[in-house]
Symmetry: C2
Subunit: 384 residues, 2 copies
């Protein structure tokens, strides 16, 4: 549990800094299990209704909701779990106010700017309120967080290997792919992948994007489509582990290669190589330099980049952690830091033909980067 403590210490320092910057006495956040910043502050996976986190006078308190005391004690990384006022029917905001007043003689309190309006409107009666957009440094991962993310990426790789093996085993009947005697559709393939993720103990989180041919151009296709020979099959797998951390892996395969696909695949693979090379110096690299490196290679291969309908019309990557999409974006002016876990995922699409994307998950280090992905890049599927 040493690494959990260190995660907590880094959070505590970040909160203290923010309190000082805003001249506030306590930090408060109230939300439900779908609030990733609250998860970061508590590590509590919580229920689908509101609960409160309070930090003041150097102590952090989780006001656990009724019936969640045991779970809160197991999961909370801070100091104190309070369940003592859980039975009196008070709301999470009222519990937070009680807790603030017990911890510190607070006049001014700080909250995240995305906290709900109804929370702020109650707290404003008792305190001077200010809000912040900070992510409390959660873009930079500790070694324990990296281990969590890497284990989820391993589960994603198992899912990918199963899909690739299925594609390798398919037979072509009248242009469409069949597997085990029945037509293989994107939905059937998705269910197969998701069952492997479940057996690995991670959630597919509704994020298993599988497109075939034209539907590859829809970057978030979770529908049902036939798969034809010569069409790209694009699999983007982003499961979430029990720890709350996501991973992200994309590969593109084709059964029966045509010219467009071969050209697109080579361009995207070279663009990914160039993007990774741009990360060779690690910390201090400008984020958008990675996107620029990928874009330049795609242009050299004859593909447009930017606000286009054919070519690459998305960024090269984003941070991954307790949110699937978090800081830093590879389109930003930000300088990358050691501990940033980011995707590197160039792609090109033609709504008339198909789409190719290849995505690895990497961690920036002091002097370079480490690839958290261990999955070959290969256009023709095979059983592994």
């Amino acid at each position: 549990m040493v690494s959990m403590v260190s995660r907590y210490e880094s959070l505590q320092n970040a909160i203290e800094q923010e309190l000082e910057a805003y001249d506030a006495d306590a930090f408060v956040h109230i939300g439900d299990r779908f609030d990733d910043l609250l998860r970061y502050c508590t590590h509590f996976s919580g229920p689908d209704r509101d609960y409160a986190f309070v930090y003041g006078s150097g102590q952090s308190v989780l006001c656990a909701p009724r019936l969640f005391g045991e779970q809160a004690e197991r999961e909370f990384i801070g100091d104190i779990v309070r369940t003592d006022h859980q039975q009196n029917g008070s709301t999470p905001v009222i519990r937070a106010i009680e807790t603030i007043n017990e911890l510190t003689a607070a006049a001014r309190i700080l909250l995240p700017s995305h906290v709900s309006h109804r929370v702020i409107s109650v707290l404003e009666d008792d305190f001077e309120v200010c809000t912040t957009d900070t992510d409390f440094g959660r873009a930079q991962k500790t070694s324990n967080e990296r281990t969590q993310i890497e284990s989820v990426q391993t589960a994603a790789q198992h899912g990918m290997a199963h899909a690739e093996a299925i594609l390798a085993e398919t037979e072509v009947q009248q242009d469409t792919l069949h597997w085990k005697g029945e037509m293989l559709t994107t939905e059937r393939l998705r269910r197969e992948v998701n069952a492997v993720l479940a057996k690995q103990g991670v959630q597919d989180a509704g994020n298993t994007v599988i497109g075939a041919g034209r539907s590859c151009s829809d970057l978030h296709f979770t529908g049902n489509d036939e798969i034809r020979t010569g069409e790209t099959v694009l699999l983007d797998i982003s499961p979430r582990g029990k720890s709350g951390y996501y991973a992200d892996l994309t590969r593109t395969f084709v059964v029966g290669i045509d010219t467009w696909t071969r050209t697109a695949y080579d361009a995207v693979r070279d663009a990914q190589d160039a993007a990774l090379a741009a990360l060779d110096n690690g910390e201090g690299t400008e984020a958008k330099a990675v996107h620029q490196a990928a874009s330049a290679v795609l242009s050299d291969h004859g593909f447009a980049v930017g606000d286009v309908s054919v070519g690459m019309y998305h960024g090269t990557g984003h941070g991954v952690g307790l949110s699937l999409h978090e800081a830093p974006s590879l389109s930003s002016d930000e300088l990358l830091k050691a501990g940033h876990v980011i995707t590197v995922e160039p792609g090109v699409y033609d709504p008339e033909k198909g789409g190719v994307r290849i995505e690895d998950l990497i961690m920036v280090t002091q002097s370079s980067y480490e690839n958290l992905t261990d999955y070959p890049r290969c256009l023709v599927p095979s059983s592994r």
Copy 2:
């Protein structure tokens, strides 16, 4: 698609009523894919970043986020998908303001009270703002919504049948259950259930609660535990379908029955029968009468109910829909209405011994109720 239109018309009527009650000109909501009310307003499953829904002058508009236009066109149940201002880097709030001004000369706008503080603080510069706690009638389901929920419940039943078959096939070695030559733990059983859910095309949503013996008393146990002979194995399966709708199913089994378990099981089964009987008259039944009926039977069987550590320490049920837990609660004074989809799930627990809960999902009708669950209640597991 007729039923989708009727769902939209009922939403439209509810919004119009609320606008009148608040004397407001437009309704606005901004949130991400994890906001169930926004999902209800749009049916758009969206990304994990903010997007806007605007209703005014009888028209509803989804301001779709960049790169989500195609998906929005497929999924939105309202009138207009706007993606035209997606490229200029404007925020969802700015897009909402543009849209409000195009739809209507609005002075006063209405938002849900849980919308984020930062959204309200921008809108306050341009409009008079008021907020509401209404759920826009989403507790009452249309026939199409009922069909969605029922299909997810069927998937849950497949998961339950697989778990029950595994339990029936186990062998006892030194008091613990083994399956296919290896120890069967709650986590191994959970992964098996979740893989079946995935093959059925639904998400386990991190909600597959499986406790054994003492861990049954923790109502939200998703950890790993040995399973011993004579211990209750409590499975609570609450998957989410692609439509966004949840289902909810609980059964309790035991391999090698002891006296406490038999007594507890009979009490819970009888309590569920009494709770269902209390629903015999359908619409107009007081919600808490259902809880009272279950509680009375448990008391007769010698189990305490309420703020206790042994007995039943939770309510008898809750609404299910786009949120796993929504209105109505069976602890409330509310009168039940036709179309309410609710769980009926009495349970008793002894932290030293185990826990038993049985849960069916039912829909209240004008004159009675319909059970959306088709799964036997049986303490001893068997292959089905």
